[in-house]
Symmetry: C2
Subunit: 413 residues, 2 copies
């Protein structure tokens, strides 16, 4: 007796660049159909075409520079509804059954935090019913329906999040993320042509890479995938090659210690000089910055001389003006000295779970940079990463030095 | 004791040309606010911006020449959602409360006939709740939610229909239709510069004018307004002048007999010659054409000579090929003669409820045309209209002759 093999349930997510025009939508349709024909059940999550979301934001700003977030969600959610309907039409043309849904129709229930709503639950009945009818189900990404019955959007990287959440809710076998790069690389190939594609990467490494400048996947989606242990397969929309699988425990015995190098130049440095070296001063500075929604990343407090110390920290460039203003007020009230800022910095990071158990990685990192006459301005470390702030014009060189120094150009997996 | 006057409930509909770009949306916002500030409750129904709907249809056709109607509705309904959100933002900028809704959110329930759904009922709870909060309520026109919980659209002129149906459901005091012309004219001012704007017109006259080529309002919306006796005020979006009020009984004792002249050149004529003059033959021809969805407008059967007759009828030009093919098959099967067609025709009509009680209108119409050497090819009449088919190149002249002959250039109301 032959046991009938259960077919797989796959969630595929196509990003905006993968559906930027009718031709690309047709290519995505072919790809979706190819999977469905192998007797798999396929749920597709789709982003808005190309720059649609940016265009809609621009249109809104022309009318109201501070649009209501509830109305922004009404506006922006149309982008994914359009691409979903078009993908369904492209699949129909090839004689295959498909149906598109908005986030609201399919029961992606979120909180009421417009423009950055959190998914609370997904009612999967309607999707399952359509899958049972043999249809490919297309879901507009990036959006949901709030508990107040309003249309919401999920913020940056929202479609990735829709896909992962659907994969969790449907207990999918795989969640594939199609994008314009064909996987996760050891570093940005535009900076270092020797960059290698990784076959596997752990959730934690991916989170570190993403938070340190790698732009392939948004951290929130990776966090959810990690929480529910759903492997993500990041791959190129227009390539048949395997991409990179992000998972808890990749099937590799011995991994290289460092797995990726990132470069971020979207931050600026602020220095408060002559800060009275008393307990609680630093805490109060960063409490106030946090209250004003300034995202402080790295903090360094120099060795104090006499009763004074210098405190430097980095903030996103877009928040620099606000952060300087707050810092000046703080400086006056705590009787500190001048507030200076520097926008010509770059942050270089190395990431790898192997660092946990390997000593000497930091030392090697610093000595590689020193040997190449790259000054380190600030340092911060986590269990699985080391970040160094350097002069902006040394950023790319630092990436190359570290990539070669840790033998990432020779990596196999 | 002073009795508190209840404020009015107004439904305003803005067409696509009235919200074609951000500047026009801001103008519409000012207009809406002006009404709301006079303590009126305002519900706004809005069409998609300018050519948005056509652009979306074009995009769909690039992907699938025969797109599924269900997916077309998913696609097209986004146009009105976008303009609704933008109008809400424009109103907010001026410090006035407003909220936008899709047809589905607001409970416009339709049948499941995608792309031309009929409104079954409107659940007004949510609108009323928001009006009570002092908000201007904006509803995306042209769309609804089917009984199968799918997004539907209402077909051509659908936003007019949304507005009238909302006015009925909310028991509105007025329904204003804002468009790019400032009212209903005695004829097309581009043809006859002496055309006059009518202050009032009856529902029946408006229906006749619309079905005979006047393009200001779609017949379905007028039919619903007539059924529930909701006066419609058709007026210009960018003008403060009063427009034309369409109502059951305009407040005028003695009306001119003829109220409007229309010209339509979208039809073609087909002639079946030597048709056997037997009962039932004509019926069978038009039954088959109707079954094939060819919309036959005028029919003329010439006096029969011997046992044969000629039958001419008009069809929309877009259906001409199909109609000729069907006619040829018919002609063979009933042993009739040649099938000929003529696309160089125009239909001129005069409309007015006064015709019912005034004899001699037809005679005057024919003699006006004859005196000006315009040959009449076909004639059809209803209780309140007379239509004549003439050669296409005589169409505009016929309009001018009838407009002057019936003294429409002197009309006061």
């Amino acid at each position: 007796m032959q046991i009938k093999r259960k077919n797989k349930l796959i969630v595929q997510k196509y990003g905006g660049s993968s559906v930027a025009n009718p031709e690309k939508i047709e290519k995505a349709a072919k790809r979706v159909i190819a999977y469905a024909k192998r007797r798999n059940r396929v749920v597709v999550v789709i982003s808005a075409m190309g720059d649609t979301t940016d265009d809609l934001v621009e249109l809104a700003k022309q009318i109201n520079p501070l649009p209501s977030e509830r109305e922004m969600d009404m506006l922006m959610s149309t982008g994914e509804q359009i691409s979903s309907a078009l993908l369904a039409m492209a699949i129909h043309k090839r004689g295959v059954k498909a149906i598109s849904f908005t986030g609201a129709q399919v029961g992606i229930i979120t909180d009421t935090d417009h423009t950055q709503a959190k998914i609370l639950k997904i009612e999967t009945d309607r999707i399952k019913r359509e899958l049972t009818k043999g249809k490919i189900v297309i879901v507009a990404g990036f959006q949901g329906l709030s508990t107040a019955l309003e249309i919401t959007t999920l913020g940056r990287g929202g479609s990735d999040l829709s896909a992962v959440a659907l994969a969790v809710a449907l207990n999918a076998d795989v969640c594939e993320i199609y994008t314009d790069v064909d996987g996760i690389y050891t570093t940005d190939p535009r900076i270092e042509p020797g960059a290698r594609k990784l076959k596997y990467i752990t959730f934690d490494e991916m989170l570190e890479l993403a938070s340190r400048g790698a732009q392939v996947m948004h951290t929130r989606a990776v966090e959810v995938a990690k929480k529910f242990n759903i492997p993500l397969h990041v791959r190129g929309s227009f390539s048949k090659k395997e991409g990179t699988i992000i998972m808890e425990k990749p099937p590799v015995i011995e991994e290289p210690v460092v797995r990726g190098v990132t470069l971020a130049d979207s931050e600026a440095k602020i220095t408060l000089s002559e800060v009275p070296d008393k307990p609680g001063i630093a805490a109060s500075i960063f409490t106030i910055l946090a209250r004003k929604s300034v995202n402080v990343d790295m903090i360094v407090q120099n060795v104090s001389h006499k009763r004074y110390t210098d405190i430097s920290f980095t903030v996103p460039k877009k928040d620099l003006k606000k952060a300087i203003k707050i810092s000046r007020q703080m400086s006056r009230s705590i009787k500190a000295g001048a507030v200076t800022s520097d926008e010509t910095i770059a942050k270089v990071s190395i990431v790898g779970v192997g660092m946990k158990s390997h000593s000497g990685v930091a030392a090697k990192c610093f000595s590689l940079l020193a040997k190449n006459r790259i000054n380190i301005d600030m340092i911060s470390t986590s269990e699985i990463s080391i970040s160094c702030v350097v002069k902006k014009d040394a950023g790319k060189k630092a990436v190359k030095v570290l990539h070669k120094g840790f033998k990432l150009d020779k990596i196999k997996t």
